[in-house]
């Protein structure tokens, strides 16, 4: 993958961190939960936007259009130990979504294909996620996936810092105690 600059000199890259998945399918909801937790535990600069992409597909085209850098967060089935934090880069990201079967992934595959056709694919693409244990109807993450969540957040934040984004970790007393309506992830 070429490492051409993400943005013109002196300009901050336009970054989207998008969680995808279904919170009604246990570990499939990790992308959404990760974005919620990032929002809760960190402070992001103006050039970084966080989005709960849910189970949408092509509807997300206008959200990814015009971005320099797109981070997708999702459950990644790859045969590793459940809970393992994983990374897929560049051309392998669309391929990853093409090879998978689950309610939302056809949507993301179509989304990335459509963005290629309309010349709106972000300059750089990366997928972070966790190997799921269960993908069945139900609310809440498995113990294994939950235990990988903190590390997942750290690697996403490290990646953002790596491209020059100033992400600040909030102190414990600054973190909103408000939880998701489904209770603690």
């Amino acid at each position: 993958m070429s490492m051409s600059p993400l943005s013109s000199a002196g300009e901050l890259p336009n970054v989207l961190v998008m969680g995808v998945g279904s919170i009604l399918m246990t570990d499939e909801g990790i992308g959404i939960r990760a974005v919620e937790e990032l929002q809760r535990r960190y402070l992001f600069p103006d050039n970084v936007e966080l989005l709960d992409g849910g189970t949408s597909g092509i509807e997300l085209l206008s959200y990814i259009s015009g971005r320099d850098y797109l981070i997708i967060v999702d459950a990644i089935k790859s045969g590793n130990q459940p809970g393992t934090v994983l990374k897929v880069e560049g051309e392998d990201v669309p391929a990853q979504f093409r090879t998978r079967i689950s309610p939302h992934q056809l949507g993301i595959s179509d989304l990335l294909a459509a963005a290629t056709l309309t010349d709106e694919l972000p300059k750089r693409l990366v997928l972070f996620g966790i190997e799921p244990k269960n993908i069945v109807l139900g609310i809440g993450l498995s113990r294994e996936v939950k235990s990988g969540l903190d590390h997942l957040l750290e690697v996403v934040v490290e990646d953002l810092r790596g491209i020059g984004c100033k992400v600040e970790k909030l102190e414990q007393h600054e973190i909103s105690q408000k939880q998701s309506i489904w209770g603690k992830v």
């Binding site: 790859s78 990374k87 669309p94 391929a95 309610p103 595959s109 179509d110 294909a113 459509a114 056709l117």
Partner: protein, 494 residues
């Protein structure tokens, strides 16, 4: 939501009706555009053949068919180059499972290219109309503003953070921009595909009892509608019977579901209020139970639902915009096919596709009139959008219907002491995809496939054409994974 409102006999503020109507119209426009170009057209249009087209001849053809400004040589050429790059990269992606070069693909490379060009442009327009849904519903497709009793959209013309004139005019701009595309591109392309595949007006008729809901209520009670609906038995539009209101017993008393051939416990025909849903999977048994889908009936018979049913019912009711756009469509097909094509041609696979575009054009007129109605009502000083419901003790029963993009959708509720006691949704794809009913009469999919041609059983493109013409809502239920297309993806632990 409408089922609860119906159970509580709740009146809905006019603004809320108009806002819901705008969202329904925009959502359906989005669905119809995406269905034609991105989900259905590639059954008829060969993307690989389009790459061989002469871009100049394609542009000339486009300009002959329509005054649309997007058919210039430069624009067509750019689309063709983009497709070449995409296909050439080896990542056919969304095109990976297409039956390219199939003998049933009959369009010339130039017609294929024109359709592919509009396929790319449609990606832009579907997004524009979706913005209307997002502005009013906060989010799309999972809208957040609907509530029993109205909508959660405060209207204040002096506030920047509510529905105000700036937002309303932006919505109008989006409606007109997309309406132009629907009239000058979608309607024309659909007519062209229908004309070049005129033999498909003889295929896929299936069940010709048609059911559709009246929709776009124009009063607080749901007794007058901008779009009529009702029932046509045996394909005879002269026998049309309207559904007149939200409380019309003609609808409320005539819907039942059968589970004789469905994987649920028992064998009965029940009214939705009295149903239960207890799974009983038996494996595929073609003379017993063979589907997860129940089998709905209207007056004891299967009915086809969807844009075709809706267009035929509106046509039968004398709805002026429907008659206008149906005539435009049929005249264009007739002139391209060189033979007179009448409304009877709509009882077919290609007719369902044509009717969807006619409906989409009707919705453009409807969106404009709903926008006017909303703005005029606000101008009178009415900013109400919500009537709070109260839930009495005892039992209330209700039902609500909506003419959704895929056809009539009805929800049925039984409330007991403020809690849900029973809830059934009888959805459009259930009407169309249902197995045989208790009388062993087949549903629309099954009936429409009888006599459907198949040239190559290994590549059953023609079956897809007929099933896709219904716009099936099964995308989340069935995924076919071809191991041969597996790609090697580098995943690393971090």
């Amino acid at each position: 939501m409408r089922s609860v409102e119906n159970a509580l006999q709740l009146e809905i503020p006019l603004n809320a009706q108009y806002i819901r109507n705008l969202m329904m119209g925009a959502h359906a426009t989005h669905d119809h555009i995406v269905h034609f170009y991105h989900l259905g057209a590639l059954d008829w249009v060969d993307i690989v053949s389009a790459l061989k087209a002469d871009a100049r001849a394609t542009a000339n053809l486009g300009q002959k068919l329509s005054p649309w400004p997007g058919n210039s040589y430069d624009a067509v050429k750019a689309s063709q180059e983009r497709l070449k790059t995409f296909v050439g990269s080896g990542q056919l992606g969304i095109y990976g499972s297409g039956y390219w070069g199939h003998p049933a693909m009959k369009l010339s490379p130039e017609v294929n290219m024109l359709a592919a060009h509009h396929y790319l442009q449609a990606l832009e327009y579907q997004r524009e109309i979706n913005k209307v849904v997002a502005i009013l519903g906060s989010k799309t497709p999972h809208i957040q503003n609907l509530a029993v009793g109205g909508v959660a959209n405060p209207i204040n013309l002096d506030s920047q953070s509510t529905l105000n004139m700036e937002r309303l005019y932006y919505i109008k701009t989006l409606i007109d921009k997309v309406g132009d595309f629907v009239e000058n591109v979608l309607l024309v392309d659909t007519a062209a595909v229908a004309a070049f595949y005129a033999d498909w007006t003889q295929v896929g008729k299936g069940v010709t009892n048609y059911l559709s809901a009246p929709d776009m209520p124009m009063d607080t009670k749901g007794t007058t509608f901008a779009l009529p609906g009702g029932y046509i038995p045996d394909g005879d539009v002269t026998k049309f019977q309207p559904i007149k209101s939200y409380t019309d017993p003609f609808f409320g008393e005539n819907v039942k579901e059968s589970i004789k051939h469905s994987w649920y416990d028992g064998d009965w025909d029940k009214h939705p209020w009295d149903e239960e849903t207890v799974p009983n999977y038996t494996d595929f048994q073609d003379n017993k139970k063979y589907s997860w889908v129940k089998s709905p009936t209207f007056k004891g018979r299967p009915a086809q639902v969807g844009p075709l049913a809706n267009v035929l019912c509106m046509f039968a009711a004398g709805h002026a915009p429907t008659k206008k756009y149906a005539a435009t469509m049929l005249d264009t097909i007739s002139s391209l096919a060189g033979a007179k094509v009448g409304i009877d041609a709509l009882h077919s696979t290609i007719g369902r596709i044509g009717a969807r575009s006619i409906r989409c054009a009707v919705l453009y007129d409807t969106l404009k009139s709903q926008w006017n109605a909303l703005v005029e009502n606000i101008a009178k000083g009415d900013v109400t959008t919500f009537s709070p419901p109260t839930f009495p003790s005892g039992v209330q029963k209700g039902y609500g219907f909506h003419e959704a993009p895929r056809g009539i959708l009805s929800h049925w509720i039984v409330i007991e002491n403020g809690k849900i006691k029973n809830y059934q949704a009888v959805v459009p794809s259930t009407w169309n995809a249902g197995p045989r009913n208790s009388q062993d009469a087949p549903g629309p999919y099954e009936a429409s496939l009888v006599g459907n041609p198949v040239q190559d059983p290994e590549r059953p493109l023609e079956i897809l054409r007929t099933v896709h013409s219904f716009d099936p809502c099964l995308a989340c239920a069935i995924h076919v994974f071809d191991r041969n297309q597996n790609e090697i993806v580098k995943v690393k632990a971090v």
